[in-house]
Symmetry: C2
Subunit: 264 residues, 2 copies
């Protein structure tokens, strides 16, 4: 059983994961971040020690959870002064599990499919935790740990995780950017972004019960050239937004045409 953990990283994901573990009684022994103040801030939240020196990371924890940015994982691994029998997991969507091979004999991936912010408390109970492990014993341990914080625990291979992460970029980062553009368009006319919130809520709710292809409406689906032309004119001053408008509109329409042709 995993009863304690060392958290490597103090960003959005590291913070929320450490707090979720702490709440469920998993003792956070130490928090590492190369930025001392960030390490201390998170350590305080979870009653842990902190360090900003990799060489000071304690040995003998039940699990080492690496939650740093993708490009820093390898460097961190090289600097971790822990023995080869330690259980180490990373938490990244796009990085294969094998990156951990060679640094330890027991490793895995613990990838929560969610968006995190330092300041917004995550509710892990329904967050899919995507697990992968170097061997059965490790997988069993990770599964037990995962079920302590979530009811949605999934066995996901490195290949599958990469696809999930790509899809997540579309439904999270890109969706959020559409919100940002919507908000930017209204700001130019001093219109309140609040006006869009019921629409944003309903758009997300709709696909709980409808396939996104069936949920689509609007000028692109109808290829309503008059409205589309007007919209493109209104975006004259924002060439990037205009480009996004054109390509997404085309992509929606192409998709609609395919569906129609299949039905005929």
């Amino acid at each position: 059983m995993i009863e304690n953990a060392v958290i490597i990283g103090a960003g959005n994901l590291a913070t929320q994961l450490a707090m979720a573990f702490d709440e469920k009684g998993i003792n956070i022994r130490q928090v590492y971040s190369r930025t001392p103040v960030k390490a201390m801030e998170l350590a305080q939240k979870v009653k842990a020690r902190s360090t900003s020196e990799l060489s000071q990371v304690v040995n003998g924890a039940d699990i080492y959870v690496i939650a740093v940015k993708d490009s820093a994982i390898e460097e961190v691994l090289k600097g971790l002064p822990i023995d080869k029998a330690s259980l180490v997991v990373h938490t990244a969507g796009s990085i294969p599990m094998n990156i951990l091979n060679g640094f330890t004999h027991r490793y895995g991936v613990f990838y929560p499919l969610q968006t995190f912010s330092v300041t917004r408390k995550a509710n892990f109970s329904d967050i899919p935790l995507c697990l992968e492990a170097s061997e059965t014993e490790v997988f069993t341990k990770l599964k037990t740990l995962a079920y302590r914080i979530s009811s949605s625990v999934q066995a996901i291979s490195s290949e599958e995780r990469k696809r999930l992460h790509l899809a997540a970029v579309f439904v999270n980062n890109f969706v959020n950017h559409m919100y940002a553009i919507g908000s930017g368009i209204l700001e130019q006319s001093n219109l309140d972004f609040q006006l869009l919130k019921p629409l944003i809520r309903e758009t997300a709710k709709k696909i709980e019960s409808m396939h996104p292809f069936d949920a689509q409406t609007g000028p692109a689906k109808r290829m309503d050239q008059l409205v589309i032309g007007n919209h493109l004119n209104m975006l004259e001053g924002q060439p990037e937004w205009q480009k996004i408008y054109s390509f997404v509109t085309e992509s929606i329409y192409e998709h609609e045409s395919k569906i129609k042709n299949n039905k005929e």
Copy 2:
């Protein structure tokens, strides 16, 4: 007071609006659609008569609500056999109020800022109803009518409504297309779209309390070239999705850079 209405159209919006009026005791006298079966289906739901002949539309209703596709509005107006004192509104985001000028002396716009489907019952109570009217008397009547079905009633000019509609295309149609692409990416690997639902919910919830610019995370924000390159490779077989990925990523990054420069 508006106590009864004729609904011109039987699509998504016409259906949901007629049902909302009917529920709140506004008598739907007649439903028109050029497709007889659609006219009859909606008429049945709201205990009204139906017609598929514009020339058969009854005279003397308190209000005529035009909820047909944008490109059909003018044709419908020309065919309506009603007298010049009738109150006529359209419900379109992108069409100026003045399109109604000449057909009647009393006109306006009744634009619900929401996405509608025939099969999914809309809850109007918090849907922003954007009103515009040819004169004060008409505005007052529309306002009273609007408050019977929603608590969010807004005075919005034709110019403002056009911008709202453009923003709505981004936060609804385009967001929904991002969901569709996400779902398409998972289908290729037989991964369950359900896995993305908690992320989709949280993405929408996050902006209830955070500005979308602050809510952003992910590889584009960090300009993580390794992940971005990998993702573009994975999209090789879908050139449209690949184009969208590139442009949205660029747009997110450009925005991040602007914020950073402003802070420095």
